[in-house]
């Protein structure tokens, strides 16, 4: 019977892989997720059967088990149902936190009161606790930053780097100690406290623009922690699923970092734009900015042949994706060619903008990725930038500023540019956007949602 259960768990692990594979294509992605979810359900039930058969579990144990299942399921279901698509990165981060936290708790619980723990358990247990605890506090802080509960700006205080190094050393030291002496409670407590603190000090100096990379990295961390928990408990399914997520998270992290032309180490060690605060402060409003009304912009759009929309986080934050899609539909109906140029880090996690536009029923073929879009801008009559900032700043092509070398959308190559934005405020990099003072740029100062609605109305009067 136990062997049969092991085969069931193996089949579930295989389904995780297949599910992930099916998620490579939009057409099969949903089936992939359902397959994966079904396999998870089977694994949980099978584990329940094993527990019941072995009968070592106490009555209180059952109560704890069901209470935990009910509490977690209700919380997860509520969060997943109620979350807005714009808040998706926070939620993924929150799930990373609880996953990492659970993995760390497994190892803690395994070590407490244990005697003569072999090294082959001590080492993975130590790694599990370290990574799991770092992920727990790090992900919670990342979610807080994204939600605006904690300032999204890089938080740096004098000696911050020193504190960071000290805490890292403490965590590493107690980790080695615990690996060697797994039954030492002092080492265990030190490691837990050190790793929890390190999670905070690691994410604190990282700015909002780098959050997609951080979330992706923490996802990989959680996977690794879960795999280590599998070593501790001798459960193959945890090792397989954990390694799978660890590897996929690492790849996504690498892709994201490449899209920003920065190394992962650079993102973790140095906060974005922290070194250049003085430079951006003196920038101010140099050069003249031309602003236009809804009617001015509507004429430009209505008489264009080709419009490329550059959606950014501002569009998402204003929940304006539906208004955007409405305007695009109106223009398309009038014979204007409309495409969306999506920067890989538009939004607050990899591919976030695509999800938001999909929510607004934007036809899939209208979305083009950065490289293709940059070849198209020269042929576009109007580039309509809605709530995007740093990813359109031509300053990135020069050296000597915080966004130097970051791949951008070459919006300034279009014949004319319209920027919908509430104010001339800075993006996450804290830089003035040179695009706004370009002579062919018209600034339309408005909230993305109201602005797009006004534009749609104005365009309608022209093409009516």
């Amino acid at each position: 019977m136990d062997t049969a259960i092991q085969y069931v768990l193996l089949a579930a692990a295989a389904c995780f892989v297949l599910g992930l594979r099916l998620m490579n294509h939009p057409a099969t992605a949903r089936r992939g997720n359902l397959l994966s979810a079904g396999a998870m359900g089977v694994a949980v039930v099978a584990t329940g059967v094993v527990i019941a058969r072995h009968a070592t579990i106490t009555v209180t144990g059952w109560a704890v088990l069901f209470a935990g299942l009910a509490t977690g399921s209700v919380a997860g279901l509520y969060a997943a149902r109620s979350v807005r698509m714009t808040a998706m990165p926070q939620l993924v981060s929150l799930f990373n936190a609880v996953g990492g936290g659970a993995a760390a708790l497994l190892a803690v619980s395994d070590l407490i009161g244990a005697h003569a723990v072999p090294v082959r358990v001590g080492v993975p247990a130590s790694i599990d606790i370290a990574i799991g605890a770092v992920t727990f506090t790090g992900s919670l802080l990342a979610a807080g930053k994204l939600q605006g509960l904690v300032s999204g700006a890089p938080i740096v205080f004098p000696g911050a780097r020193l504190v960071n190094v000290v805490i890292a050393a403490l965590t590493l030291g107690s980790g080695v100690w615990l690996a060697a002496r797994p039954d030492n409670t002092v080492a265990l407590v030190l490691l837990v406290v050190g790793a929890l603190a390190f999670g905070v000090t690691m994410v604190l100096p990282i700015g909002g623009a780098d959050m997609p990379v951080v979330i992706s990295l923490l996802n990989a961390f959680t996977g690794t922690a879960v795999a280590m928990a599998g070593f501790v408990l001798g459960q193959t399914i945890l090792i397989i699923a954990g390694a799978l997520v660890g590897a996929s998270g690492a790849i996504l992290t690498k892709l994201m970092a490449d899209a920003m032309n920065r190394s992962i180490a650079n993102i973790i060690i140095g906060g974005f734009g922290t070194a250049d605060d003085a430079a951006s402060a003196e920038g101010g409003a140099q050069g003249t900015v031309r602003s236009g009304s809804a009617d001015d912009v509507a004429i430009q759009l209505a008489y264009a042949n080709k419009v490329i929309v550059v959606p950014g986080y501002g569009l998402a934050a204003a929940q304006a994706q539906h208004e955007m899609a409405g305007l695009a539909q109106l223009l398309t109906g009038h014979g204007v060619e409309v495409t969306y140029a999506v920067h890989p880090v538009a939004g607050r996690m990899p591919g976030h903008m695509n999800v938001l536009l999909a929510e607004a029923n934007v036809p899939y073929p209208q979305l083009i990725e950065m490289e293709e879009a940059n070849g198209e801008f020269a042929r576009a009559d109007v580039a309509l930038v809605v709530g995007a900032n740093d990813v359109t700043n031509p300053a990135a092509r020069r050296s000597g500023n915080p966004i130097s070398g970051m791949p951008i959308l070459d919006v300034d190559h279009a014949r004319s540019v319209v920027v919908i934005k509430r104010s001339l405020g800075h993006g996450y990099a804290g830089l003035d956007n040179e695009l706004y003072t370009d002579p062919k740029t018209t600034m339309y100062f408005a909230d993305a949602k109201q602005g797009l609605a006004a534009l749609t109305a104005a365009v309608r009067t022209f093409v009516g």
Partner: protein
């Protein structure tokens, strides 16, 4: 359950390679649902948490097991439901396009 170290490490390494292979060619459009999907898969930690609950026999053990199970269950249920919500939208947009 006993699992000898070499076997465990072998499984770990091979699974890492599978993970790399499966993810490498995903279009950027699907990165968010994919990450969210991978996120739910690490909810499998719930299985380990259940095993911990089964061997707990003192207050500290019960408390740890409760949080581990609750965290794991939240990860699993929330992760899959939200991924499905997202993918549902992609399907809708494909029909039109």
């Amino acid at each position: 359950m006993s699992l000898d170290l070499l076997t465990a490490v072998t499984i770990f390494v091979l699974s890492l390679l599978v993970g790399v292979e499966v993810i490498s060619k995903v279009p950027a459009t699907l990165h968010t649902p994919l990450m969210s999907g991978a996120n739910s898969i690490h909810g499998v930690v719930l299985v380990g948490a259940m095993a911990i609950a089964a061997t707990a026999h003192d207050t500290l053990g019960y408390v740890l097991a409760f949080f581990a199970v609750a965290f794991g269950a939240m990860n699993v249920v929330g992760g899959y439901v939200v991924t499905d919500r997202m993918l549902h939208m992609f399907r809708g947009s494909r029909k039109q396009g």
